[in-house]
Amino acid sequence: MRKFLLLLCLPLLTFGQDLKLDHSYTGNAPFEVGEEIIIKFNTLSDDNKDVYFMMFDYQYNNKLLEKVSHEFKLPDNQSASKSLNHWDGYKFNVKDGYDETDLDNQFFYGWQNAGNSSYPQNADWSVERIIVQESGTAISHNETIIEVKFKVKDRQGTGYDNYEEVTRLNWMKATDNTSTANSNRYDVAVGPGGIKVNLDNQGDVTGVDAGSVTLKLNTEAKTDHATTFKYNIYAADGVNGKTGDAIKSGNFDANGEVITDASDLTIGEEYYFEILVDDNSEWLDDVLTVTDVYIIFQQAIAAANGSDGPGGGGDTNSFDYPIQYLLGELTNSGTIDFDDSYQALGHVQGVDGLSEWFTNNTNGAKNVWGRVEQLGVSTDDYYFGQKFIFKPTDATKTFNFGHALIGDVDFSHGYTPTAEGSQYEEAQQAQNQARYSVTFNAMQTPIEANLDITSELVEGKVELTINLAEEGLAGAQFNVKYDNTILDLENAIFDTGNEMTNFANHREQQAIISIGSLDQDGDIAIKTGNSYKLIFNPNETLSNTSGLITFSFTEGVKQDGTKVKFNIQ
C-alpha cells in the first residue's frame, strides 16, 4: 500500500518546487494613464527552503511603463547585500523545452547557457536584474524584496492594444548557504501573481488617447455642401445626453468627415456627437421642394381619409419610413395633417409668417441625426433612432452618422435610413412587388425630361420662358436668379391649365424667384408647352440678355411620386 501511495505521489514530488517568485501591483485598479503604480517582488516558500542567495531578471514594457524609481525593502534582512542592474532594449527569449514558469531552468538553459540568444534586442522592453545575498540569516519568504515604481504611459500610437503585459518574470536562481553553484539551485516556479502583471485585470486602464477617430457624415447634401456642416463633440451624459462645454468643434471637411487629433479623445470614453448645418447656408431654402410638398400632402390625405396608404404601415399611413413622421412634422403638433402640408406648400409659394419648425433660410437648419445603425428605429432611449453617442475603442475608431432635415421627407438632402427596422415592412414588400408608393417612387433615380429655358429680349423687355415637354407632372418648381442691378420683375405668367395651383415666390433681396405648380391630389397634370413666363424691366438699354438670368434649381414630380430631373438643353 505504501508503495502504491508513493507511486501515486511521485509525479507531485517530481514536479514540486522549492519556492516561487511572485510579483504584483499594489494599489487599486483600474489605473489611469499618468498614474504611478508600484510593482513589488517577493518569494513564497513551497518547501521551507532557506534562501541565502537569489538572482532574478524581470522585464518591463517601456512603451507602457516609465520607470520612476526602485526601493529595496527586505524588512527582515536589512543586512543583506543587494543590487539592481538595468538594460534598455532587450527582451528575454524563453528557452524552448522548458516552461516559461520554470524559472530556474530558464535561468540555467535560457540565460546561463544560451549564449547571445537569451536576450535579443527589442526596443520595447527593458530588463532589470536583482541580486540579494544574505550571509547570516535566510532571506524571508513573503517579505517584499523590492518595490519598483512606474508611471503608466499612454499606449496610443505604441502598437499595443492593452496593458495586459507590462512586466514579466524571466528567470531566477536561488540557493542555500552552502553553495551558489548552479547545481545547488532550488527549483523555482512562478507565484500566484503570474508570470506577467496585467494592469487591465480589474478594468481597462483609463485615459488612453483614442488616436485619430473618424466621424463620417452620411447625407445626400454633402455632395455639394459638405463644408457647411458643423459639429460639436461633448462628453456623454447618461444613455444619450451630453454634459459640459464642447470638447471639440468645427466644420466637416470636403469629404464630409471629421478626423480628430490623436489626443482629442480618450479610448473607452463615451462622447456625444452633434451635427448642425450653418444657418447662413443659402441652400436651406431648397431643401423643402415640390416633391416634399407632394409627399406630405399624400400623407395628410391618407391620415384624413383613414385609408390604407400606398406605403403600408397602417391604416392612415402613406410613408415608407417611420422617420418621415419626424421630417414631415412642420408644425410641431405631434401629428402630420393638412396644417403641415399647407406649411410646406406655403414655403415653395413664398408665403411669409410660416412655422418656425422646419428647415428654410429663415428658420435655419432643423437637424435630425444619429448613428446609422440606429437612425430611424425608435426606442425608449433614442427618439426616432437618434443615437448621438459614440465610444472609440482600439477595435472601432470610425463612426457613421446619418443626417436629415425637417421638411425633407424625400431625403433629397438627407440620409435614407438603412438600419434594420427603419423601413415599414409593408413598404419593403410594396417595393418588391413594384406597388405604388409615393415615397418609394420619389426616392428612385429620377427620370430625365427635356426642358427649354431661355431668356430673350422682346420689345425692350427681358422675357424668361420655361417650356415643359414632359407630360404627367403633378408638380414642378424652378428657381431662377436674376441680376437685380439691371432687372426688375414685372410679371409672372402661367399657362399650366385652368385647374392647376401655381406659385411664384419672389425673394427680392436674394434676387431669386421660385416659380411652379402643384396639384396636391395628383389628379391633374401641368399643361405642356410654354407653361411659365417671367417678364423683367431692364433699367438700361440692352442689346442682349446673356447671364442676366440663371437657373439655380429645377425639379418636377410625376403623379405617382417619381421625381423628374430636368435636362435643360
Binding site: I453, T454, S455, E456, L457, K481, Y482, D483, T485, I486, A511, L542, S543, N544, T545, S546, G547, L548, I549, T550, F551, S552, I568, Q569
Partner: protein, 124 residues
C-alpha cells in the same frame, strides 16, 4: 441758261430715286480685342470678368441662335439666351452679376443646339 436748267433737271431726277437703292449694309465696328479670324465663333473682350464684358458672336448667316453659359466643372447649363443675329460679327454683352464667382463655359449654338463656338471665362 440751258446748261443751268439741264443741271437742275438732272439733280431733280436724281433726288427722286428711291433711298434704299443707295443703302449700304452697315459695317459693324469690331474692336481689335474682339476680332475673330475664323468665319464663325464667339470671343470675349476679356476672359476674366467682374460685372459685364463685351463679346463678339460671329455668325454664318442671319437667324436665331442660342448663347449658353455652362458651369466650368460639371458642364451644367445655368443660363441661356435666344438671340436673333445677323451674318458676321455681332457685338453683344455677357452680364455676370447673377453668376457665382467661378469658372464658366460660354457656348454658341444654332437654334437646334448645334455648337458653333465655345470660350471659357472666369468671374472674379
Amino acid at each position: 441758261m440751258k446748261k443751268f436748267i439741264t443741271l437742275l433737271v438732272i439733280l431733280t431726277l436724281t433726288s427722286c430715286v428711291r433711298d434704299e437703292e443707295f443703302i449700304i449694309d452697315p459695317i459693324t465696328e469690331v474692336p481689335e480685342a474682339l476680332v475673330i479670324d475664323d468665319l464663325v465663333g464667339i470671343k470675349l473682350e476679356s476672359n476674366i470678368v467682374t460685372e459685364r464684358v463685351a463679346m463678339n458672336v460671329k455668325l454664318p448667316e442671319d437667324g436665331v441662335y442660342r448663347i449658353k453659359i455652362r458651369h466650368g466643372m460639371n458642364n451644367e447649363l445655368i443660363s441661356q439666351e435666344k438671340v436673333t443675329g445677323r451674318e458676321g460679327d455681332n457685338i453683344l454683352k455677357v452680364y455676370v452679376s447673377a453668376l457665382d464667382k467661378s469658372s464658366f463655359m460660354l457656348e454658341l449654338t444654332n437654334e437646334f443646339h448645334v455648337v458653333i463656338g465655345r470660350t471659357a471665362f472666369t468671374v472674379n
